[in-house]
Amino acid sequence: MEIDWTPFYLTFKLAVISTFILILIGIPFAYFLSFSNFKFKSSVEALVALPLVLPPTVLGFYLLIIFSKNGSLGSLWEKLFGHQLAFSFDGLVLASIIFSFPFMVHPLISGFKTVNKNLIEAAYTLGKSKTQTLFKVILPNMKPAIITGTTLAFAHTVGEFGVVLMVGGSIEGETKVVSIAIYDAVEKLDYSSAHIYSAILFGFSFFVLLVVYMLNKKFEVKY
């Protein structure tokens, strides 16, 4: 039978874009949380960790309200880009970034904390700025944390179901990612499609994790 690869393409595109943006915002965010102390730090930490404990439907419900035409972000988005945020691919990306945020940030924070403080101080006494130190000393010495964060964020985006269904619905070619496609297939009693989709996703997830653990092992040996 013909396999419709569109859901895979969508899932992959969603995961790559979300993870990429998460790296860009996650690193400075985690750096800031690790090395500074401010009044509302605990509140910020709690907020970041919230997607870990909230049922996806709760998160999805709130995001749907904010993303909808009448919602604060949704109406702004429509003015700026001419289409609505809910039930669109852009909305999925934004939702993915929010619900995968702790999966990226938590490993990074623990990574920042494991870097020997003396290394950072040594770089400072050698005349290096904070930015130079971050890119040349800190980040290269926490590669396992970066890999773990990236993988978890990527894998979590690939596997997320509840939030995606709430915010994106199941629009063919726009928001119908693999996890939704499997759900649809099962609902239509199309078990063979469900089997194929599931098996591919299963194999893919295993492969990604395998590569990560192999990479981590390599870095552990080196350092």
């Binding site: 003396n118 101080e121 006494t125 290096k128």
Partner: protein, 287 residues
């Protein structure tokens, strides 16, 4: 000339105490802060480097103010011209020996790096990563990295404490050699008497945040019991009984000398001793 006059409240194992020191380091001098751990020695080094701030006071290096609480001056560590050798070396694990040195320079200068590598005898190891080096070799890299920027002051924080005796002795000689060769001004923290004795021009004995004794190592560590014409510090390698007397073989620098043990003091192999001559009769005494 380096002038330090600072105060800082510290928390030690026996509660709070005030670190309050006032001293100067002359150009090309090798000054050691000696004392028990937890007496505030390392904190002084860290404050000179700008890694910690004093509560009050000032730090001045070669006429430039690094810190002054009254004038609210506090130059960041990046702008201070100090070379810092950390107790755990703090070599960058992601860089080779060569890259560690290169990173320390504002403008990479191949010739200068090679020159320094030669001084510390690391040319053959320049492409190795720090974790493949022995403790002594890592220490040399740390030293090379600190001096490559031509610091106005070299700060050594217990630089040899993690090394075994034979390596330590060799590196002591090297530190002394480099200090002289490059006309450095060096401030070292140590609690190892023989090491302090061997390297320092001047010693500040620090206890619970205060300087309790100042002077050259001889004055600090050896009471005025001996007024020898000349004296050397050495280590006892062997003691043998010969009829009624005991003869100690003492290593002084690279030389081995035999000294007859007189007096009642007990010696054992490994003791650090002062060998001095009094009217051509060598007298030996524990330090």
């Amino acid at each position: 000339m380096i002038k330090v006059d600072i105060e800082k409240q510290l928390i030690g194992t026996e509660g709070k105490f005030l670190l309050k020191v006032n001293f100067e380091v002359n150009k090309n001098e090798f000054l050691t802060l000696f004392g028990k751990s937890g007496s505030g020695k390392t904190t002084i080094l860290r404050m000179i480097a700008g890694l910690e701030n004093p509560d009050t006071g000032f730090i001045e290096v070669e006429g430039k103010t690094y810190f002054n609480s009254k004038k609210k001056i506090n130059i960041p560590p990046q702008k201070r011209k100090v070379g810092f050798v950390f107790q755990n070396y703090a070599l960058f694990p992601n860089m080779t020996v060569y890259e560690n040195l290169e990173f320390a320079m504002e403008k990479p200068n191949k010739q200068k790096i090679e020159e320094i590598l030669e001084i510390v005898e690391l040319q053959d190891l320049k492409n190795r990563y720090p974790n493949t080096l022995s403790g002594g070799q890592q220490q040399r890299v740390a030293l090379a990295r600190a001096i490559i920027r031509n610091p106005l002051i070299l700060l050594l924080d217990e630089p040899l404490s993690a090394l075994d005796l034979s390596v330590r002795l060799k590196l002591q000689d090297e530190i002394k050699k480099i200090h002289k060769l490059l006309n450095l001004t060096t401030l070292m923290v140590s609690h190892d008497k023989p090491e302090v004795f061997k390297l320092s021009d001047k010693v500040l004995w620090i206890d619970k945040g205060k300087i309790i004794k100042t002077g050259n190592p001889r004055k600090i560590f050896i009471e005025k019991e001996i007024s020898g014409k000349f004296s050397f510090v050495g280590t006892i390698l062997d003691i043998k009984n010969s009829d009624v007397i005991k003869i100690a073989t003492v290593e002084i620098g690279d030389n081995l000398v035999e000294v007859i043990i007189t007096g009642k003091e007990e010696f054992k192999i490994g003791d650090n001793v002062l060998v001095s001559s009094k009217a051509f009769n060598p007298v030996i005494k524990k330090i």
